[in-house]
Amino acid sequence: MSEIVSEGGMDADTFAQFTDQLKRYVRERLMPAEEQVLEDDAIPPDLLGEMRDMGLFGLTMPEEYGGSGMNVPQYIETIRVLSYALPAYRSITSINLGMVCSALKNAGTEEQKSEWLPRLAAGEIACFGLTEPGSGSDSAAMATTAKRDGGHYVLNGSKRYITNAPHAKLGLIMARTNPESMPKNAHVSAFLVDMETDGITVGKPDKKMGQRGSHIADIYFDDVRVPADALLGGEEGRGFATAMQSLDNGRLSIGAASCGYARRILDTALRYSGERKAFGETIGNFQLIQAMLADSQAELYAAECMLRDAAAKANKGKAIIEAASAKMFASEMCNRVADRCVQIHGGAGYLAEYEAERFYRDSRIYTIYEGTTQILQLVIAKNMLRDFASGAAA
């Protein structure tokens, strides 16, 4: 595969040294603690402290704000390496590194950046609130409101399925600052909300199919008064546009999670194929097992190449089609590989005692969040048609 592009990021040697350490850290610390995380449905606090010390919450923040200043390809590669371990480890860092960091970098005022970026880089956890019980990407139906009241805004409403809400210190919350729905979602603004503010209640974490150890919950706002300077960028009506700006990176991050996890799944399938015996020999000797292994490898390799290429393109500017394609392909691939891993395990694959069963459940979310496969199909096709019509297609 091609090299990781270092343009605009960390120097290549430093990055290589870090990924070396991270691979070891994943193998020697994060993976052995997986059983514990699954049992407690939580990352042990001392391990979380170690992850903070390792710098895993500061990958994407600029150096001058206490981060490491990785570019897109380096960030994505790091997520891929990290995702060889249980998904909960990536999930706890994901909102800091993705949505909230890029929103602050792209739209935050200097005061907002110097207040929050160093805290996020040091591992105070962030959440991002867009989805509501009655609305998702269709912001016209957004019901959470923020009303100006002197030097404050008063927030009312609720948010649903918010990743990391139970742990968050900072919430980047989308709320309606205009009762009328306006073109380009100009009725929506973004607020940097200290999650310890009076009037905020976080619901009980939702029970999920998989991804144990990571949590989503509802957030309720009941006359929550935030200072006016909590308005992201100090400007109303820019919230939705800001959120949409970092979609490419979010999709690549799920692509990376899919590739990293699929590699783990395939390694597990390979190991089992070499251990399990049937008809007097290891099942890896059977050609129908080999076919499943080979298909998995070819698809995973394709996804890894796509991911790296799309990340390099996103590093230079917009890469909507590439990022959406890489996410769609990698997440579907990960599910196929997880399915084959169960199949290779046979009856054992259906038992909770073996990892194959968990891989299968954990992978399922990847084709859903940060844009379902179906939404991504629309995104890819619409952009292709538009590019073609405007003569931009090569």
Partner: protein, 248 residues
């Protein structure tokens, strides 16, 4: 008090070594290399002594090719203060290493030279002992615990059947065993800071010592493959088999 920590760049402990076809050595082309694990333990111990206020500077030194810089950067990222690379592409035997280290120790005047007890590539387990002899200073090898108190260092040594405690007057040589500590991972912020720490490059000739090899490797071969055992049907067959092999 200053601590000098020699570190060696060796084949990574996770890699399965392959012997070159001509039997001249282990094939290192395109093989992952990293810091000798025993040296990592030495670096960690030095950092812990510094964190405990028992030492004020840690100098890492490596003798090897230009790429050994990476190994020194790892030591710096873990917490060493500065590094010295003695650059050479020649194979330097433990005696040669010990001679160079003696010359550096004379310049740097460390209270402790903290080395791994052996490197996992050649498993010589000689450098620390040779260095102690050349310098005429006390040695505490196979350290299980290290305690610094005033001008002495107390080392509990792993010996057959238990631990032996020795008290050494500094300057002293300590070599680290596996159970001394669990080395930390270099964090990303520290890896970035390490870039700015000083790393001097020198040549063996700067120290005017003779490092010409004394030994000649005649052949390197893979360990013999273990033969598969036999399965027998029952106890009678087992007894018959043992008798036929002349062991019962």
């Amino acid at each position: 008090m200053k601590i000098l920590v020699p570190v060696k760049r060796v084949i990574d402990y996770n890699v399965k070594p392959r012997v070159k076809a001509d039997g001249s050595g282990v094939d290192l082309a395109n093989v992952k290399m990293s810091m000798n694990p025993f040296d990592e333990i030495a670096v960690e111990e030095a950092i812990r002594l510094k964190e405990a206020g028992k030492a004020d500077e840690i100098v890492a030194v490596s003798i090897g090719p230009a790429k050994a810089q990476e190994t020194l950067r790892t030591a710096l990222a873990m917490g060493a203060d500065r590094a010295i690379l003695i650059e050479t592409d020649d194979d330097v035997e433990p005696l040669g290493v010990a001679k160079i280290l003696k010359a550096i120790a004379e310049e740097e005047k460390p209270g402790i030279v903290m080395l791994g007890k052996q490197a996992i590539d050649d498993d010589s387990n000689q450098t620390g002992q040779m260095l102690a002899a050349l310098m005429g200073r006390p040695q505490g090898t196979f350290a299980n615990t290290v305690e610094v108190d005033g001008d002495s260092v107390t080392v509990k040594r792993e010996v057959d059947g238990g631990l032996e405690t020795v008290k050494l007057t500094m300057p002293a040589i300590v070599t680290t065993d596996l159970r001394l500590n669990e080395p930390r991972y270099a964090s990303l912020p520290n890896i970035m800071k390490a870039k700015k720490k000083p790393l001097d490059t020198k040549a063996p000739s700067d120290y005017g010592v003779d490092i010409a090899p004394r030994l000649k490797t005649t052949n390197v071969s893979e360990p013999p493959v273990r033969q598969a055992g036999d399965k027998v049907e029952d106890v009678d067959a087992l007894v018959a088999k043992l008798k036929s092999l002349g062991v019962a």
